[in-house]
């Protein structure tokens, strides 16, 4: 690491108040004795200081650190011992101390105010912390263990080889059946809905090898071809699929409540810009909407806002069938209309089938609009508008 000194040639004059001398790292700033002037009054102290600027030259790019097997083993032992110590510290049984207990203990012993969760102190099993690495690939005599070692990506190519082998076996089997005349056209297709192929990162993690996009695409194509040729290798294919949670199931549906008169209704809230609304939708009604105690026709004179209120009902073909009472505050007229629309749509979910909830979600009725007013930036007239540019 070379350090070059940059000395300020010209004296940097500063107006200094009489302060106690600061203790700076001596190598960073060299203070010359400040000469006091003979004239009384505010002193202008001329300082010549030498700043040491450290520049890194010829530093190699950091290579991925390789951890030996012994090192990892030692880390695992240390982790287990530390876990027992921690359990004793917390007064719990070391034998039944789970990872969640460890997390709670660490959060209690080392409270951190950092926002980034990954920067907080953690204590996890070394296998989750140190990236997985390949063990040494050859034996004592230098002969590699895997027959595809010289390709560079042995796990990936061996996987492709096995998958292709399975396709060939299935086709051979099919040909044999057809020759005997026993082949039946029953298509036992594997259900693909609700699952997705592994993404490239997950596959890389599984094989502990770097892959290119082309490799990944070839892999997916080969898997799909394997699926097409038959349902024989279901477990093999399913090991490369992950389930996808259906989005609509995540929509919380409000429970239906009953009021004093026995009328069924449901309540929910909605927000838009800075407007907040709370809507109560009655199951049986005649399409009356009251906003803050005022009829919607009087509260929203503009047609556009009233259309926004109507949209959820119009979408579900229930225009005159529900009564709505809502309260709204904040925002402008359009924001209030949007907030009420969201609240009404969420409340309607309780009276409607799951399929229709999914349709509403896909129509965007159940998503809160994330758009808020963008701040004005300095040096510009508005959020985006720049000042008029004059050529001269």
């Amino acid at each position: 690491m070379a350090a070059s000194c940059v000395s300020c040639g010209a004296a940097v004059s500063r107006r200094l108040l009489l302060r106690p001398p600061l203790s700076l790292a001596p190598r960073q700033v060299l203070w010359k004795a400040a000469e006091l002037q003979s004239v009384p009054g505010p002193q202008i102290l001329r300082l010549k200081h030498v700043t040491v600027v450290t520049t890194k030259k010829n530093v190699k790019a950091p290579r991925r650190e390789t951890y030996t097997v012994d090192f990892i083993k030692k880390q695992i032992e240390e982790f287990n011992i530390g876990k027992r110590h921690l359990a004793n510290m917390m007064g719990e049984d070391p034998e039944t101390f789970t990872q969640e207990d460890i997390d709670r203990a660490i959060a209690y012993l080392f409270p951190s105010g950092l926002f980034e969760k990954r920067a907080r102190p953690i204590m996890k099993h070394p296998e989750q912390i140190f990236p997985k690495q390949k063990a040494i690939q050859w034996g004592e005599d230098g002969r590699p263990f895997h027959y595809l070692f010289y390709t560079g990506k042995q796990s990936y190519y061996s996987l492709m080889h096995d998958a292709y082998g399975k396709i060939l076996d299935i086709e051979k089997h099919k040909n044999q059946l057809q020759a005997k005349g026993l082949f039946s056209e029953k298509n036992k297709t594997i259900d693909l809905i609700g699952s997705r192929w592994l993404i490239k990162e997950e596959l890389e993690e599984m094989l502990v090898e770097k892959l290119s996009d082309q490799d990944y695409r070839q892999f997916v194509q080969l898997m799909e071809r394997l699926l097409q040729s038959g349902a024989a290798e279901e477990e093999f294919v399913q090991s490369f699929r992950r389930s996808v949670t259906v989005q609509s199931k995540q929509q919380p549906i409000e429970p239906v409540q009953r009021d004093a008169q026995g009328m069924a209704f449901s309540t929910s809230e909605g927000k838009r810009k800075s407007a907040k609304a709370e809507a109560v939708v009655y199951e049986h009604g005649s399409g009356r909407i009251k906003v803050n105690g005022i009829d919607y026709l009087l509260y929203f004179p503009v047609l556009q806002d009233r259309e926004q209120l109507m949209f959820p009902f119009h979408f579900l073909d229930r225009l005159g069938k529900h009564d709505v009472t809502c309260t709204v505050s904040g925002g402008g007229r359009s924001a209030q209309a949007g907030a009420i629309r969201l609240a009404v749509a969420r409340a309607l979910c309780s009276f409607v089938t799951e399929e229709e909830v999914e349709w509403m979600r896909q129509a965007g009725l159940l998503t809160s609009d994330p758009r808020v007013r963008e701040r004005k930036k300095p040096g510009q007239e508005g959020a985006r508008r720049k000042f008029t540019w004059k050529k001269r």
Partner: protein, 287 residues
């Protein structure tokens, strides 16, 4: 020296059963990591006073005895000109695709299609199989290379079945010439590269032909009439496009490698047996 070892090491001794005779204690040294020097044997780790003089001798003899016979592993009996003909090995490409350096190996041209001379093919194939067997006998790494998509699966299976290695995928640039970077420090390079197809997918010579020549790795290759046989140590003129021909070649190489390895194991087993039955005054039975 007792006659058991020479009998085992004599030509054509595979696969006849052998009688066991008592030899002086001779501990075969462990197969240390050798470079690609095929001639030298690893020096014996232990030297026993009684068998000191004879210890290096059997070891050297194991490695040098096969070299004294022209066809130690009887590879000539694995194929015949007739079997090559039945597998369509003699069919080359059209005369327009002919490579200039393949002209010596071409018998003639029929209806515009080149016919490869099977007599020459048989001779070259015998040399190639013999060499492959010797490399396998001495524990060398054999790499089967082919870039033909139709036979990629077959070649990989062949390599796996005989316990050797295959490379039928995209060949990364410095694999042989920059091995410490691509394969890891201390990786051992192949001792022989066998090409089932010398050309890659764009009908150009495979990079490994040139790289193996650069790294002094001997090569065996099946060359068709449109291939360049120059840089190969043991070219085998023959058809590389028909499935029966490629399957025949794969079968031949697999058999040759297996025979050589079985022979080696027999010899090593015999050593161990003779070492155990040796005089116990010298040392205890080797571990």
């Amino acid at each position: 020296m007792a006659p058991a070892l020479p009998r085992l090491l004599s030509a054509g001794a595979w696969p006849r059963p052998l009688g066991l005779h008592v030899l002086r204690a001779a501990t075969p040294g462990p197969a240390g990591p050798r470079g690609r020097t095929l001639g030298s044997a690893a020096p014996a780790a232990q030297s026993e006073p009684a068998g000191g003089g004879g210890l290096a001798d059997p070891r050297d003899r194991v490695l040098s005895e096969p070299l004294r016979h022209p066809d130690f592993f009887s590879v000539r009996e694995l194929f015949s000109v007739r079997s090559l003909f039945d597998a369509r090995v003699h069919l080359g490409h059209k005369a327009g695709c002919r490579h200039r350096f393949m002209e010596p190996y071409i018998f003639g041209s029929r209806l515009g299609q080149d016919i490869i001379d099977l007599e020459q093919t048989a001779a070259h194939l015998q040399l190639a199989l013999n060499f492959t067997a010797h490399v396998a006998f001495r524990g060398g790494i054999i790499l089967f290379v082919s870039r033909h998509r139709q036979f990629c699966h077959l070649v990989e299976n062949t390599a796996r079945d005989c316990g050797e290695y295959a490379h039928t995928r995209y060949f990364k640039g410095g694999l042989l010439t920059n091995a410490p970077l691509l394969l890891g420090p201390g990786a051992r390079l192949p001792d022989l590269v066998v090409f089932l197809h010398t050309l890659n997918n764009v009908f150009e010579p495979h990079v490994a032909v040139r790289d193996a020549a650069k790294m002094n790795i001997p090569t065996v290759g099946v060359v068709d009439t449109n291939c360049n046989p120059c840089l190969l140590t043991y070219p085998v003129p023959g058809n590389d496009d028909s499935p029966p021909a490629v399957e025949l070649f794969c079968r031949l190489f697999r058999t040759a490698v297996r025979r050589a390895k079985d022979k080696r194991r027999q010899v090593e087993a015999l050593y161990r047996l003779q070492g155990r039955e040796g005089p116990s005054a010298v040392t205890g039975p080797p571990s």
